[in-house]
């Protein structure tokens, strides 16, 4: 449906344009500016061309951070999406327990990120943490500050605990929109539970699932606060994701040029993935109509 063309509408958009300009576009341009120059302090800048980009793209450090980042996002998606679907399917469709389940699901989402990090940081400590001490007592060797695998497991479990609810809620909304007649028809057609899922529930959920995948991918790809609080990127650099690396480089080492170049590469990767998702979604839309 195309709407009215009314030039007054631009005035309504103006405040947003201004805010976005100050909060996003201008800082981004500054970053672009840094990425092509070098500085030794005193506000003196030297033209560097694409040097920083080349350096970042060739650097071992960037490669391993990006590798970790992709691995982390992949693990997160591989666990949270199926788990979210399973929980959503298991939730009651109507009745007394519905609000109860919904509130339970929404709880982790309401907790601020650094608090989540702190909770798990303490939870996993072997001296005072409930989980850490318990594992230690039953003889499981567990120490996320020293063992890489333990650190990864802790971060993944934390993220799953924190964010699976989002996938659950999105899937649940998708499931709720399926009319009863579909389930009845499936029963009449003698469809198994799996066939009902495969041919009714999954097709009706595919739109929300795409949104869930996109949101979870972007969020996990940009994860910073929680691992920073729990592991600080360690042990060694084993949980140093792109964002943590970036902050270390920019603030810790004050290497503004490479950090700026890295930010832009990071930004472009996320943009690329979002674009791919958007294309897939609009393609599915067209196919459906």
């Amino acid at each position: 449906m195309n709407k009215w063309s009314d030039n007054r509408a631009w005035w309504l958009v103006l405040p947003v344009v201004l805010i976005v300009a100050f909060s996003a576009v201008i800082p981004l341009m500054t970053v672009v500016n840094y990425s092509f120059q070098d500085t030794f302090g005193n506000n003196e800048f030297f033209w560097e061309g694409v040097g920083w980009f080349q350096e970042v793209l060739r650097s071992e450090r960037f490669h391993s951070a990006m590798g970790r980042q992709f691995l982390f996002s992949f693990i997160i998606l591989a666990i949270e999406i199926p788990l979210g679907i399973v929980i959503a399917l298991a939730m009651p469709r109507k009745g007394f327990w519905v609000p109860f389940c919904l509130i339970l699901m929404a709880l982790p989402l309401l907790i601020p990120w650094n608090v989540v990090g702190t909770i798990w940081q303490i939870f996993g400590r072997i001296d005072i943490g409930l989980l850490g001490a318990f594992l230690d007592n039953i003889g499981v060797e567990y120490n996320y500050t020293q063992n890489t695998l333990d650190a990864w497991v802790t971060l993944v479990v934390m993220d799953v605990w924190h964010w699976t609810s989002l996938v659950v809620l999105l899937c649940y909304a998708g499931l709720q929109s399926i009319p009863d007649a579909y389930y009845q028809a499936a029963r009449i057609d003698g469809a198994s539970k799996w066939a009902t899922f495969r041919y009714i529930q999954l097709p009706k959920m595919n739109r929300v699932l795409l949104i869930a995948v996109l949101l979870r991918f972007m969020d996990s790809f940009m994860i910073y606060t929680e691992p920073f609080v729990v592991t600080g990127g360690g042990p060694g650099n084993d949980t140093t994701f792109l964002s943590i690396d970036l902050v270390q480089m920019a603030i810790g080492q004050f290497d503004l040029g490479p950090a700026a170049a890295m930010s832009l590469i990071y930004f472009l990767i996320i943009l690329l993935f979002s674009w791919v998702f958007f294309t897939i979604m609009s393609y599915l839309d067209r196919v459906e109509n």
Binding site: Q184, A185, R187, I188, D189, G190, E288
Partner: protein, 359 residues
């Protein structure tokens, strides 16, 4: 195909029942013959959907039992009943092709692939869907989708009954005619037991051999379209069936005639004993009234004439009573001095809204 028996069937949505009004479906006993086409007709909230859900196995009735070919299925799950159902809004598997949609019920039951193929093609041919077998089902029109839902029922050789829940709601009037006559044709050819729920009298009457008219949770009459039209058992049936409905006006009896506002209406069928103290009404369909300048009928004043192309409907007044009269396309409505001519073979007498049987 199966014969369906409903024995002492009643249902209430309340957990405990305090009064008879709390029954959404009041006790009923019916036998629906194998191969019959039945329509459940009534306004919304009359209990027709409740009854359908009991037959399909979605609801377990509070009282009574339901039998398919003598076998008690009251507590059997939907999937174990061998029924097929077409819903109000088309239910199709969006991601599948038309072919796969039709094959789905057979594949679920482990039917061999070549049998599936033969059956699907046969049914597609029958429903005129052969050209679209390779298409994705989601891209089709509403009427084609409804045919697919029907087809998913027909492919199964073991179907006991096919249930229809207002299946033509989303179909354009022109296509309704096609789809309906196709249904009728299928029924005549294969003798499926069919149960069709609707609030639309034309659909019910044209589809069914027997129409079950429901009102307020109870069956008020079950009969052929002709019986419902000519001898409605209850004034509600007279009103609900026919467009416009039956004229129902208060009367009293003088000898063998019904007196309306001092004018005598002859009743050729006669009538049996009238319960004492009952309030009496005559019911005459607009189709059995005519207007003329000559004849012996009472003089009436014309209130309004609606021309509906194929026929006209004249609203006339006899004292304080209003009658609707159907006038043919080529006939004129007299503007003044019109007399109301009554067909004496089609005057029904009602005592407390129930038909007084003929003598």
């Amino acid at each position: 195909m199966a014969r369906i028996e409903l024995n002492h069937l009643a249902h209430s949505y309340m957990p405990t029942i305090q009064s008879p009004e709390e029954f959404a479906l009041k006790e009923l006993n019916h036998v629906w013959e194998d191969g019959g086409a039945y329509a459940l007709l009534g306004p919304s909230g009359c209990g027709k959907t409740t009854l359908l859900n009991i037959i399909s196995g979605l609801l377990i009735p509070t009282h009574g039992e339901i039998r398919f070919d003598g076998e008690d299925v009251t507590r059997k799950a939907t999937e174990a009943r061998n029924i097929a159902q077409v819903f109000q809004f088309p239910v199709i598997y969006d991601t599948m092709s038309v072919y796969d949609n039709l094959a789905f019920p057979l594949r679920n039951r482990g039917v061999a692939a070549n049998d599936v193929d033969r059956r699907v093609r046969e049914i597609a041919e029958l429903l005129e869907l052969s050209d679209t077998l390779k298409h994705k089902a989601s891209g089709l029109t509403a009427d084609a989708k409804q045919k697919i839902s029907l087809g998913r029922g027909l492919v199964r050789a073991d179907v006991s009954a096919i249930l229809f829940d207002e299946p033509l709601t989303v179909i354009d009037p022109h296509l309704k005619w096609q789809l309906r006559s196709q249904l009728k044709h299928l029924h005549k050819r294969f003798n499926y037991t069919m149960v069709y729920v609707t609030h639309d009298q034309t659909e019910a009457l044209t589809f069914a051999d027997k129409v079950v008219v429901m009102y307020d949770g109870a069956v008020v009459q079950m009969g052929t379209p002709e019986e419902l039209f000519e001898r409605p058992k209850h004034t509600f049936v007279g009103y609900f069936i026919g467009s416009p409905g039956m004229n129902v006006v208060p009367c009293h009896i003088d000898g063998d005639k019904a007196m309306v506002a001092g004018h005598a209406f002859a009743m050729e069928q006669g009538f049996s004993k009238i319960p004492t103290g009952a309030s009496l009404e005559v019911g005459i369909r607009p189709e059995f009234l005519s207007l003329s300048r000559e004849g012996s009928g009472p003089e009436v004043s014309i209130q309004k004439v609606e021309d509906l192309g194929r026929f006209k409907v004249a609203s006339v007044r006899l004292e304080e009573h209003e009658f609707k009269v159907m006038v043919g396309e080529d006939q004129e409505v007299p503007t003044d001095g019109a007399r109301l001519i009554v067909d004496p073979t089609h005057v029904n007498l009602y005592a407390n809204s129930h038909l007084v049987e003929e003598a």
